[in-house]
C-alpha cells in the first residue's frame, strides 16, 4: 500500500516535471540526463506522449505562418527617412 502510494507520488512528480519541460525537449535544450528523464516518463504516460507529439506538430507548423514583406516597403521607409534627416 505504502509502496504504491510512493510510486504514485513519484509518477506525478515526473509527470509535472515532464509536462513543464516538453518544449525544452523539442528544442534540444536539455542535458542527456534530462532528456532521458522525459523519455522515461513519456514511455509510460499516454497523456504526456500525446501532448509531446501534438506539441511537436504544432511547433513544426508555426513556421508556415511566416508573413511575406510588402512590395516597396523598404523604399517607402527610406523615402520617409530622407524627409526627416
Amino acid at each position: 500500500m505504502i509502496r504504491r502510494l510512493l510510486e504514485r507520488r513519484r509518477y506525478m512528480r515526473e509527470h509535472r516535471w515532464t509536462h513543464a519541460h516538453l518544449s525544452e525537449y523539442l528544442n534540444e535544450d536539455l542535458s542527456a540526463d534530462e532528456r532521458e528523464r522525459v523519455e522515461d516518463h513519456v514511455s509510460i504516460c499516454p497523456h504526456c506522449r500525446r501532448v509531446l507529439r501534438t506539441l511537436r506538430r504544432t511547433v513544426e507548423s508555426l513556421v508556415d505562418l511566416r508573413a511575406e514583406g510588402r512590395p516597396g516597403l523598404a523604399e517607402g521607409v527610406i523615402e520617409r527617412l530622407r524627409r526627416g534627416y
Binding site: 528544442n27 501534438t54 505562418l65
Partner: protein, 193 residues
C-alpha cells in the same frame, strides 16, 4: 529563409550609420524591413498599421543609433524597438471584449491528431486556427512564440529582443505553445462531434 547576414559586414554598416552615414543606414533598412514588418504585423490591427510601425521603428532606430552598444545583434535591438512601438499602439486601442488569458491545460478527451496526414498550416482552415490561437495570446506570450517559432530566431536572440532571461523566456514560450496546441485540440475535438 534568407541567408544569414555576415556579422562583420553588419557591424560595419552600424558603425558607419553611427558616424552619420545615411546610405549605410538605408542598407540596414533594405536588409531588415521585410522581417521587421512580418514581426510587427502580429501585434497590430492590419498591414497598413504594420507598415507605419515599421517606418516608425526605423526612424527611432536612426535617431538613437549612437546608443546602440553592440551588446546584441543589430536586428534584435531593432525588433525590440518595433515590438515596443507596436505594444504602445495596442495599449491605445480600446481593450478587446474578452480578457486575454492563457489556457494551456490539455483537453483530456481530445484525439491524438499528430499523425493526421493532411495536418499542415498551409491548409486554410488549420492555418486559420493557428493564426487565431496566436493572435489570442497576450502579447507577452505571443512575442516569444512569434520570434522563436515563426521567425526562427534562436532562443538567445529572441530572449534578447524581449529583454528576458532565457529561463523566463523559455517558460513563456512553452506556455504559448501549449495554448496554441490546445486550440488545435479543440478544433479536432469539435470536428469529431
Amino acid at each position: 529563409m534568407s541567408a544569414p547576414i555576415p556579422k562583420s559586414d553588419e557591424t560595419q554598416l552600424v558603425q558607419r550609420s553611427q558616424a552619420g552615414d545615411r546610405l549605410a543606414f538605408e542598407e540596414l533598412v533594405r536588409r531588415h524591413a521585410d522581417r521587421l514588418y512580418a514581426v510587427v504585423l502580429r501585434f497590430v490591427a492590419d498591414a497598413d498599421e504594420a507598415e507605419e510601425v515599421t517606418q516608425e521603428a526605423f526612424l527611432r532606430a536612426w535617431r538613437s543609433i549612437d546608443r546602440f552598444e553592440f551588446r546584441s545583434r543589430f536586428f534584435t535591438w531593432l525588433y525590440r524597438i518595433g515590438i515596443n512601438e507596436a505594444k504602445r499602439r495596442a495599449e491605445r486601442r480600446p481593450p478587446p471584449g474578452m480578457v486575454a488569458s492563457i489556457e494551456d491545460a490539455p483537453i483530456e478527451d481530445a484525439p491524438d491528431w499528430s499523425e493526421v496526414p493532411e495536418f499542415r498550416a498551409q491548409q486554410a482552415h488549420l492555418r486559420r486556427v493557428l493564426e487565431d490561437a496566436v493572435r489570442a495570446l497576450p502579447i507577452e506570450y505571443r512575442a516569444p512564440l512569434i520570434l522563436r517559432d515563426v521567425e526562427g530566431l534562436s532562443t538567445q536572440e529572441a530572449a534578447e529582443v524581449m529583454e528576458l532571461r532565457e529561463a523566463a523566456f523559455k517558460s513563456r514560450l512553452h506556455r504559448a505553445r501549449l495554448a496554441v496546441r490546445r486550440a488545435v485540440d479543440r478544433y479536432y475535438l469539435e470536428g469529431e462531434r
